[in-house]
Symmetry: C5
Subunit: 352 residues, 5 copies
């Protein structure tokens, strides 16, 4: 949880100066260019910036995918070429924004947050920037290679309506992919919650508590990703942007429904986790009660007996009981009766 680090290193600099504020996790940037029409598909795996600019000239739908943002110049060149506002480029590079939608007339700028595939801790989300133009979509990610692989495969195979639709539909497919990403994370959270439930019954310890808080933190992160997304999709689905065609709206509304479903399930999870915290804390008290009962039973049984044997260990000259032959077995009788009586009392109080 490095919330404090790298939040924004640009403090004190004038606006418009581009600077990447995340932490680079890849060595090289992946630049990928895809051009497609309903019938054709063309993909450049390791593109140069020039390759990408050529794609822009063609009338075909273009999808330019930038993975890795630490080379500021690449982002700047692409941005300048597509006529992107400097503040948008700044936002692309400052990777700690909450999801938002901005309409710049010629293009829409969308920020999403997704959990990096393969990260099982869910303690971080990655910023994904989409720029949706008339016949192009630009995507900028930090290290989320793999997130859009299935989508690219569907494009390549040309099944479904994906290829015959425009940039808005491709953007919808991306939004859908990100929400699917949330569903995956929630499924994994659900499993975590189930295994926590078992732990709680069997062997609740301090790790249980930390697991509860880890899950709470993940839920918090997901909430922060999905709430603004829901609002944004609500705005999009009202169809105010000219870049989103009427026919795509119903799909946007479908994703919107899914985000509500995510939010609903998150609330349930949060509630269940709170209940678990209660159970965990009260199990601590229960445990203490168990320990105290054992201590009390043992002490209460033996402390009086020890006193009695202490009495007959005294060295007084005149202790008449000591002389009697039947005294020793009689004392044993008394002590055993006393012990049995105490045990009976404990049993009545349900301590045993």
């Amino acid at each position: 949880m490095n919330q404090g680090r790298g939040m924004r290193k640009k403090v004190g600099m004038p606006p418009g100066s581009l600077l990447y504020t995340g932490e680079p996790t890849m060595e090289t940037i992946v630049l990928r260019g895809i051009d497609y029409t309903p019938t054709e598909f063309y993909e450049i795996e390791q593109a140069t910036v020039d390759d990408l600019l050529k794609l822009k000239e063609t009338p075909a739908m273009s999808w330019i995918q930038v993975i890795g943002l630490h080379d500021v110049q690449v982002v700047e060149q692409i941005g300048t070429c597509f006529g992107i506002h400097p503040l948008v480029m700044e936002d692309i590079l400052e990777t700690h924004h909450r999801p938002k939608l901005e309409d710049y007339g010629d293009y829409l700028y969308i920020i999403l947050r997704a959990f990096p595939p393969g990260d099982e801790d869910y303690d971080n989300t990655e910023q994904i920037s989409l720029i949706i133009g008339k016949n192009y979509v630009l995507t900028f990610q930090e290290h989320g290679e793999g997130l859009f692989n299935a989508l690219r495969a569907r494009l390549r195979e040309g099944k479904g309506r994906l290829r015959s639709q425009g940039a808005d539909y491709l953007a919808y497919a991306m939004l859908d992919t990100v929400v699917d990403n949330y569903f995956n994370v929630m499924e994994s959270m659900g499993e975590g919650i189930e295994s926590l439930e078992e732990q709680l019954v069997l062997t609740a310890n301090r790790d249980t508590l930390q697991e509860i808080h880890r899950l709470k933190h993940a839920i918090l992160l997901l909430r922060k990703a999905v709430w603004p997304l829901r609002d944004m999709l609500g705005v999009l689905s009202r169809g105010e942007s000219e870049l989103v065609r009427e026919s795509t709206l119903i799909y946007i509304r479908d994703v919107y429904d899914h985000t509500i479903q995510v939010i609903d399930t998150l609330e349930t999870y949060r509630d269940i986790l709170s209940g678990m915290l209660d159970i965990y804390l009260s199990s601590l008290s229960n445990h203490m009660n168990q320990i105290m009962k054992v201590l009390t039973v043992i002490s209460t049984l033996f402390i009086p007996l020890t006193f009695i044997v202490g009495v007959y260990g005294m060295n007084f000259k005149y202790m008449p009981e000591l002389e009697k032959e039947w005294a020793y077995p009689a004392l044993w009788g008394v002590m055993i009766s006393l012990a049995l009586g105490m045990l009976a009392i404990f049993r009545r109080r349900k301590w045993l």
Copy 2:
């Protein structure tokens, strides 16, 4: 509580591809077709899809009931024949939606959630999809056989206004049945709460806590079913849809009132359960206090006495007390006085 499972298995697939996401619990699908006019009633128990399509042709009111959704093709055929939008069919098969109302002009699409009859744990709700056309109502359920039995009986007997009214009134009767289902569940919850209250007084243990959380979870589920239903009924009762006639609105408003009553009672239950949690937790502390008192009383009584008898168990050569004849009974006197004094102190502190 398998929240994590089967939430949505379609991740990564294109929209429009139909796939059932619940867990089939029945072997075969029940297809039932009912045709009625104010004077006539016709019912096919084990209908084929073709039978159902014939019903559609008649001018009489038709109710087609599909129970069991794992045969995707049946749903698809019926949907296609009645001109249902593919996304609606998808929603019917993805059985984890929250209640909603969508107006498609020719028909209304309503999702409801009900507790399966016979399930006494209330840890799951079932999705019920209604499609309300001009003279037909389609219902899709997973396994809720039995929910609409009483309604079907009323139709068959032809009592009341049910047969003489249209599709909107039949849909109202279904909504009313579902809200009645909630009342049944709440009545059972109310009994659970009452028996919890008795448990709390007599023998609060860890099961009490889990029962409290089971009830809290059920309340949560019911809340999630009834809140959106209330909103939906609020929209319906404003009479904006042409498929709902003026004369039916007053009945819709009646169901709306009932949902508010459900919500109100749920809030009360939640409050009572929170109070119970407080009582349970403080009873743990009380219990601990009781145990500690016993331990302290016993220890405080006997530890000093044991010290005293220890003193006269020492083997010093010159211990003048040991020689006196009256010393032993005198010591007993001292020890008994000490013990009685302590008991008096405990009694004054209300520990005994």
Copy 3:
């Protein structure tokens, strides 16, 4: 607290079928008819339904009071005669509604909830239905005989403006009576809180906790009665209904202010009770600390001493100390110093 019982026994029946859902507490129904003009007053104590219908014919203001709802036919006859909608009659008999206001054009239908006079537990509210026509007011109650007695006395005596005003002013006087009922209940709650405060200081035990929760429950009930009433009065005071004359509005607004005052005081009470819960729970911990201190002081004093006397109780042949004549008194000196030293330490730690 029988929240679970009798909530609504009509499950599965068609709408419009009248059924009383409360629990009858009186043997016979009280039917009372009052006719009055500014100068005259006429009252039938044990009226028949026919008597009441005659009252309706006169031009004078009529107040028909029905106490006891288990004879469904009486309610039905009166309702039919006054042209009351069947769903309103149903609501009158289903006595678990929250307060509401419905405008049926010819008459207003108002549901109120009041605490039955004489019930000191405040764990239940009674439903009171008012039907306000042009020159009549109908009231239906379950068992609340006595609530409107003072009002009837004022009518009989003819003091104040009551007799010279119409049905709306009579209804206002009833609303005012119900809010006065709330003030009475709150006054009694206030006394309960004061006596709780004393208990908390002196002898907090488990009953204290249950008393706190009993009061919390009563506050909850009152909240549920008064919040919707406030909204309803807000609507009424806007003067949209033709049945409420301009001159009465200012009185309605006065009752509205009083409901706000009730709500305000309730919030304060709730806050005070939460504070009490904190104090109670921390007093449990404090109590435990006291007990533990006693145990620790006693143990810490005597366990080391018992060890020492144990040492000189050993039977070794060569223990030089045992032979010295001054050894025994010297040991006492050592032990007393040790004990005094420990006591000094405890006193410094404020344990004594």
Copy 4:
């Protein structure tokens, strides 16, 4: 905290019947009349009702101050003479209203709540009623002599703009005085919080808890006084009333800002107090831990040693150790090593 008492003794009486519902704390009523123009100032200290009525006739600004409300007739005479609505008079005498503003066309009726000067417990607020006419201001208070003294002095000295402005500006000055009263109370609360902070570190005990709740209660009271005041000032500052001139609005807005400042600080205080409660409760647990550590260290040290010396106190005939000359010192060696070892373990666990 006598919340339950005297809330409203009028239950069951018709509206319009004037009755004082507070508890009289002064013997006689103070009636004070002030007349002023920009150049002149005239004050009657112990006025009769007739004196006051004469003041009304003059064209000069009049301020009539009534302190003490138990003589209902005085209030009634003044009210009737100035043409005040009977319900307003009722509200003046029922001294448990929340702050509100009512516009009666000819005059504004404002209710404020202030803490009585000199009361250091802040467990009660006093109702202050203002009636603001074209050229007069009437103020009614229960016992708050002293609150407006500084204001009267400013009027008398004629400094500032007070005398040259109208009734609205005088009312503003009163509102400002009341908000200043809140700032005084908050300053005193702030000191209470600071001294609590010191107590928490040094000697937290049960009084600390009660002091926390006393402050919480005072904050609650102040919140209830200031929240409606803020709303009321928001309405006033929109300038909808003809009685408040344009030039005064900016001053009203200034008071409005101050109320927001009060609310802000209150929220901070509440937060700090909640934090203190946490610290207090966890200090109880800490304290218990300390006690338990002492008990455990002592017991764990001496119980095994006591067992050992007990072994050699046994009277078996054949115990070879007892005969050896070196056995006694050797045993001491063993016991001291054991004790030191245990102490080392405790030190490693940070228990010492």
Copy 5:
């Protein structure tokens, strides 16, 4: 935390009388005047009031910076000369306002709150007043020397767009600087949280709790600074003021986004701190459980053994066991078996 002190010392004084309500921390006031055009830059380090007034006459952009507010006359002279409303001057000197924006037509008045640079405790914020005219910006601070140093340097160097833009852009740069100040504080908080997380795992003690509350308090302070700032920027970015040009709005919106980011992160921090509190409190219980286990294990092992050796320390004449030669070693065998058996039980219960 001196919340209670110096909140507002003006109680009882008429409005318009200027009085500084903070606590002066510098000896002399810093008056700094800056004049700039796109090509020129002119700065007076230790200006007199007269110098500043001369700057006002020039057509160039002027920035007048006042640091230290205890010399009321300086503020008054500058204010009067620039035509500032007396209530604005009052607000500048009363340094406990929440952030706000007021549009006086000729100029905008903005209050901000920033954490003084160099203060590592973050238990106080300083009020910064901006007055933005057509071609001048006035800034008033208490002691925040250093906050705007970087900005002044950028102006002096003439890089970026700062010099070529007007007063609105300079004000934007100041707002941006303040939000950067918040980011710095949050970064430091983030580090504090990280080190708390380590402490919690290793050595949670009472300081941990106080550190948690210190951070909570700082978050509260920051929330109170940033929430109203966000609202204010929302209003500004709607472009309703003529003093803010169209081209500056996009930058305002950028700062607005940053405030939302601050708020978001604050919520996360608050949540994490709440989780830490839970962990800390439950670690207290855990710790107690550990101690109790040790005590119980030791007591339960040795108390029965001590009883046994006590038995054979008794002085009865006829104790047959004492005579047997094998009795002593046999007893050792019994005692060791008993101890091992107990240890096995403890191990099975996971107490060891």
